[in-house]
Symmetry: C2
Subunit: 490 residues, 2 copies
């Protein structure tokens, strides 16, 4: 396969993003199916790792997986007024099936609150049936005009949690709990720091009382919404008649939540960590942890080198690492290095005759320190305890990625109090994480967006942004209870 150059970020950030995806063979636009994508094996393997980790966290917090129909009767989507307004324009609609026109059309699910509400009404009868804690891994479809691999595609993959509770208080605890699950996943696995917060009414999920979110910082200063958790109140309960008999024998509507995280996170991973050399992956999401490139000239050398290579690979695999031995003939080591770096493999080991003599191996981290001349530093690791060294390096790389992403976000986070400073920060294509006062109205929010393209990403949790203290709205001067987070966003 012909290698092409990755466009540097400084030159064209959007093109860089596409190049990273193409060169790492993560995904490609379907082309023949408008706005949809094919996730190729290397990209899908990352998603499988995300799924496995999230799924474990969901099960540990008491949730069970189930599967609801792909198709939703159009009449269902129309039952919740705000919901239909939010989703109707993006629906893909099945009008014919089995060779006939259908009496009622179906939408391919854009999300499943309505059909889940319908089944919850059949499954829930008494307070003993609550809480009901369900998750679904599914494909959903939202017909988008402007699509971008992973970030916004017609079909995408996600999980959607759907829960029902006896009280609003319990539902709110669930909303907060699952947002924290997303935060922990982002920090511990994605190595991306996030800001937890509450969405404004304008940015809320269609049909929710309140939407909580985590927001990640991308390298170009924009924000990426990385997971949302919704307090649905009794809105869907009332639309689908989901009631339970309480301990006093009275019927009440349930309180519901929903929460989701999607293949968008692969986009976050790319824009959070990758560089001009291609994909950079935190070890906990890397489909391949270590690539070993054996180096030899003669047949004699080959035998000895491959033998030790196999031994090292076996030892690392026994430690639970995924190891690729690149012993392809007819490809130079340099070309191999280049290829695996672009695919984001966290660590490369080079093993040749000289290394054998010294009972060691040369190691090059994907995210390497550089020497005084700007060249990446290689390390010599003794073969004797190679498993320990590599395990340590994986931990270090995981931590270093998080620290680097956090430092970048902190460097590019500012508090401003004047409208002039605010607009300067968002001049042209620029974006940062900007904390500023806002008067709490949708009108002002939209006016700011129109003037600067910056949106309110969230009203941060106490402790996540600046200490909450009252002030005057940056745009109108009207009173504000606390600064909120502004940024341009994906």
């Amino acid at each position: 396969m012909a290698q092409t150059r990755i466009t540097p970020r400084s030159q064209d950030y959007a093109q860089w993003y596409q190049d990273v995806i193409a060169e790492a063979q993560l995904a490609e636009a379907a082309g023949v199916v408008k706005g949809c994508m094919v996730i190729r094996p290397h990209g899908f393997a990352i998603w499988e790792k995300m799924q496995a980790d999230l799924d474990r966290r969901f099960k540990e917090t008491g949730h069970q997986n189930a599967c609801f129909p792909l198709l939703i009767p159009m009449s269902f989507i129309e039952k919740e007024a705000e919901h239909v307004e939010g989703f109707a324009p993006e629906l893909a609609v099945v009008t014919h099936a089995g060779g006939k026109e259908l009496e009622e059309s179906y939408a391919i699910r854009p999300t499943s609150e309505t059909i889940v509400g319908h089944f919850f009404s059949k499954w829930i009868d008494s307070w003993r049936d609550l809480p009901l804690l369900i998750n679904q891994w599914a494909n959903v479809m939202r017909w988008e005009l402007r699509t971008r691999l992973f970030l916004r595609t017609g079909e995408f993959f996600w999980q959607e949690g759907h829960t029902a509770h006896a009280t609003h208080e319990e539902a709110l605890e669930e909303v907060a709990r699952m947002l924290d699950v997303y935060r922990d996943f982002s920090h511990e696995v994605m190595a991306l720091p996030v800001i937890r917060g509450i969405k404004t009414a304008n940015e809320r999920f269609a049909g929710a009382l309140e939407t909580r979110c985590i927001e990640s910082y991308m390298q170009d200063g924009k924000a990426l919404q990385s997971g949302t958790s919704h307090d649905l109140g009794q809105n869907f309960g009332k639309a689908f008649n989901v009631t339970f008999q309480n301990a006093e024998g009275e019927r009440e509507f349930v309180w519901q939540t929903s929460w989701g995280m999607s293949t968008r996170q692969i986009g976050a991973l790319i824009m959070g960590h990758s560089d001009d050399g291609g994909l950079v992956l935190p070890p906990r999401l890397a489909p391949i942890h270590v690539v070993i490139v054996p180096i030899y000239r003669s047949e004699d050398e080959k035998g000895a080198v491959l033998e030790t290579t196999a031994k090292v690979a076996g030892e690392l695999r026994d430690d639970g690492l995924t190891v690729e031995v690149d012993d392809r003939e007819g490809i130079k080591p340099g070309a191999k290095y280049y290829e695996w770096e672009r695919k984001g493999v966290p660590l490369r080991l080079e093993l040749g005759p000289r290394d054998l003599e010294q009972r060691s191996v040369m190691a090059k981290r994907r995210l390497a320190d550089t020497d005084e001349r700007g060249r990446p530093v290689k390390e010599t690791l003794p073969l004797a305890d190679i498993g320990v060294s590599v395990g340590r390096i994986m931990d270090e790389l995981q931590a270093a990625l998080f620290e680097r992403a956090l430092a970048l976000r902190e460097e590019n986070t500012v508090e401003v109090d004047s409208w002039g400073d605010f607009t300067d920060l968002f001049e042209g294509g620029a974006s940062r994480f900007v904390y500023a006062h806002w008067d709490g109205t949708t009108e002002t929010e939209l006016a700011i967006k129109q003037a600067t393209k910056a949106t309110i990403r969230c009203i941060p949790y106490p402790g996540e942004g600046p200490a909450p203290e009252p002030g005057a709205c940056i745009k109108t001067g009207a009173p504000s209870a606390q600064k909120v987070l502004f940024a341009k966003n994906y």
Copy 2:
């Protein structure tokens, strides 16, 4: 939740099947979405276990997962002549999206050979790119008139393997290899014996040169096709121009295979193993391996019993078993037993004050031996090495289920040589596994089907059926090379 009675198999087999599913809360008909189903948590947990085991086997044989679009342009399905004929009548069609009528309609994938062919043509260029070994876990849709939970539903879940090879020989090896993966999975995990064989032209996958299958025996004498592996030849390669440059520099069409196993297997599991008491599960697919029911009267007893219960549960969980402690208040032990038996939990442990004194626990297998009065036998297991005993019982249950299913199939497998005997065997609703000679023509096959409702399930692999020897067709008397497997089927 109100308990209802499970209809005995002898009274109404079809109703028994539905009752088992309802009582074990495996799934239910969507109702509002014609022919589709909701898979409830207990059913989905079984599917997750199937997926995990199959996925491991696919990866061990060198396959990688990927994900292709849900929607397929109608023109793609029309590109392979036999394929469109086979699938067009069952398609669900998206004609509108994003508020507009589409220029070209899309089908929701009934299977993905066409769209995979399209992408293979982009990804494959040289012999170095081969073999390409891909698997996809996906939902597919086939609009069926008569549906039945798990066995035949509008939307269902499956995996579809898609591979491309440089030679027909390599493709045939893959077809055989993956059929053997399915056979091993059925035997080792599902505990269901299968017959491997080749489908007749009439039963072949639309667009394949040859379809291989495994056929399972259900308790009512019918067969259930449990997995298929197709030699696609160059049919899709030619339709989608999937070519490669061979080592001699010439362009050739690739040779493709596809193979699939679906949520139908949950139906096979039910009809292969379950009884009038509800679901019976092989331990390797049981979402819950052991339920412990603590028994006590006083608060004093309660404390001691629950303490030991927790200890036993912890010990079993450390051994990798999933354990449910049913300490619900206000429900009698008998009612709990009844509920967990219907859900197919392989082993129940009862733990009361007397057991504590004797440092033991009463154990009841879901598939228990019976005493001379027909009552299920309980066993006393010492607490001291409870992990060892329970581990042994799990192994015994897994093996016993396979042996029981195999014995039942053998008892109901016959060879016949006269048309009169043949028709007698399929009289009324009856079915068995019947080996008989067939003249090899579709005409005769269809005539036999019309007369008896029995179909040719497969031309068995050597060694799977009677020793291949020539004879005369049961219907026409024309020459036949070997006996083939007849049965009514799901």
